[in-house]
């Protein structure tokens, strides 16, 4: 089971019907790092991470070409098990989307999907995942109350716990803090730096400070292309491309 979970993208193009949303993407994302995707709205960064767990399959008229490999498996292969792929590549969305059921059932959702039925095993997974998401202390007494009663920040950490309970290798986060207050944002950022020991994290963010705080590498997207991809401190200190520089210095027209 010594599989690798780095992500390799080669010559990837993606179209929504006629719209060319991703243009010849080539990128190598390392294991156990936090990789940030930055760029203006509509530049394709969300589209890009959604192609890593094939959530784009849900969109009609979405066509993709090229190669996206996780370890040495091409995830767009005909015989890819999409459900297993999504179990291994967890996703946290922009708006917290807990299911309207108990905290416990939310976290136990994916393990149950994949056949864990025993109460004591589920208990362990639920506790471990909630601890990993830094939420255990706050919800241990209300595991069986409806998750919709949690605050926004708690809901988002619950969604992280829910994704972790599936035992993924990669965690995709699509602007996970954009709907949250600064304190909740801080908690989730701290969480990411801890989680990267066990997981590969790809995060889309509009907040460049956030990218510098939490990520090891950063990719700058513009109009569906990756303009620049480098170690985060280098990219921000010494951008190679004029467009990157304009964007990160806020002089973007």
């Amino acid at each position: 089971m010594d599989k690798k979970f780095n992500i390799t993208v080669r010559n990837c193009d993606l179209y929504y019907s006629e719209f060319h949303a991703l243009k010849n993407i080539n990128i190598e994302i390392e294991e156990h790092e936090v990789t940030a995707m930055i760029g203006p709205s509509g530049c394709g960064k969300s589209t890009f991470i959604k192609s890593l767990n094939r959530m784009n399959d849900l969109i009609e008229d979405c066509r993709i070409s090229g190669e996206i490999k996780i370890g040495d498996q091409n995830i767009y292969d005909k015989n890819t098990d999409i459900n297993l792929l999504r179990k291994n590549v967890g996703m946290v969305f922009q708006k917290p989307n807990p299911f309207p059921m108990s905290v416990y059932d939310n976290v136990a959702f994916a393990p149950r999907t994949f056949g864990t039925k025993k109460k004591n095993e589920l208990d362990k997974i639920v506790e471990r995942s909630l601890k990993q998401a830094g939420l255990w202390g706050e919800v241990r007494d209300r595991l069986y109350t409806n998750a919709m009663g949690l605050s926004g920040g708690q809901q988002q950490r619950l969604c992280i716990a829910r994704a972790l309970a599936a035992d993924p290798q990669i965690l995709l986060m699509d602007e996970p803090t954009s709907a949250l207050d600064p304190i909740s944002t801080g908690k989730i950022e701290d969480l990411m730096s801890m989680l990267k020991a066990d997981y590969t994290i790809v995060i889309v963010t509009h907040n460049m400070q956030q990218a510098t705080r939490i990520s090891d590498k950063t990719a700058f997207f513009l109009l569906g292309e990756i303009i620049e991809y480098n170690k985060t401190d280098e990219l921000f200190a010494n951008p190679q491309d004029k467009r990157t520089e304009n964007y990160i210095t806020g002089r973007f027209g």
Binding site: F99, G149, A166
Partner: protein, 284 residues
């Protein structure tokens, strides 16, 4: 000049307020009159003998109608609920809203909901009573009622399903759940209160229906139905029968029973909608 314009505005406002108020009062009065009138004329004759006594031409009872109505509700819901909910799931979860065909199906469903019930009645008569040779039977009437309430169930279930936020479906699929698990574990539970409410309202329609049944179940008011294939009667039909055969007291009393039944069903639907609908879909 300004002063008089203002006064005219105020006058218009007052007149309009008075007119609408009057309209409301008249509407309420009409409604209350109906209810009070039926209660006053019928309530004194509602008793155990009427409800559960043996039928005789001197003392007609509604026991056969209670059983018949129960049969009809069972038959129609058992058929229409799975078909209706299934169709709604297909329309919302497995098709693209923009497709032409789906649009046409939606319009067709809405049109079906608007067909006068007597037309369903003649359909049931021609198909079940005549063509299939069921003669007058509860099963023929029940199936016809099922066809009649189907579009209602499809429409309201669809609305409940569409009200479940897309983000929940995505959340489930992103955890590696299959589409089937997503539908059964996330979408349907979220929509459950709406679906149950729509079923209860459909039951209300079955109980109130008379036109379909006049042509399909035979209006046999004096005999207990033996089984699904027997002819029978329903509460609504008894009202008609008693009213037109010289039993005005019993007609009014049966009207009271029907009224109470349908009103309680509607209240129940509202309560269920409220209890389950609370907070569970806070996210828009």
């Amino acid at each position: 000049m300004k002063e008089s314009a203002h006064r005219r505005q105020m006058l218009k406002y007052q007149v309009m307020k008075l007119l609408t108020q009057g309209a409301l009062l008249l509407s309420l009065a009409a409604l209350i009159t109906v209810i009070v009138f039926i209660l006053v004329r019928g309530l004194p004759y509602v008793n155990l003998q009427l409800l559960f006594g043996e039928y005789s031409s001197k003392n007609p009872t509604i026991k056969p109608a209670l059983i018949g109505t129960l049969y009809l509700v069972l038959i129609s819901i058992v058929i229409a609920a799975p078909l209706g909910i299934g169709s709604a799931i297909f329309l919302t979860e497995y098709t693209n809203n923009k497709r032409r065909l789906i649009h046409i199906i939606r319009i067709a469903v809405e049109t079906l909901a608007g067909i006068p019930s007597i037309v369903y009645g003649i359909f049931g008569y021609l198909v079940f009573v005549i063509a299939l040779g069921f003669k007058y039977s509860l099963i023929g009437g029940g199936i016809t009622l099922a066809v009649m309430i189907l579009p209602v169930i499809v429409r309201s279930t669809e609305e409940s399903l569409l009200a479940v936020p897309r983000s929940l479906r995505e959340g489930s699929l992103a955890l590696g759940s299959s589409k089937v698990r997503t539908i059964f574990s996330v979408v349907l539970p979220c929509a459950a209160s709406g679906i149950v409410t729509s079923l209860i309202l459909a039951i209300g329609r079955v109980i109130s229906e008379s036109a379909v049944l006049i042509l399909t179940i035979g209006m046999v008011v004096n005999k207990m139905p033996k089984d699904f294939a027997s002819p029978g009667t329903s509460l609504a039909l008894d009202v008609y029968y008693f009213g037109s055969h010289g039993y005005p007291e019993q007609a009014a009393a049966t009207g009271v029973v029907l009224l109470v039944l349908v009103v309680s069903i509607n209240i129940m639907a509202t309560i269920i909608g409220k209890i389950y609908g609370k907070g569970e879909l806070a996210d828009g």
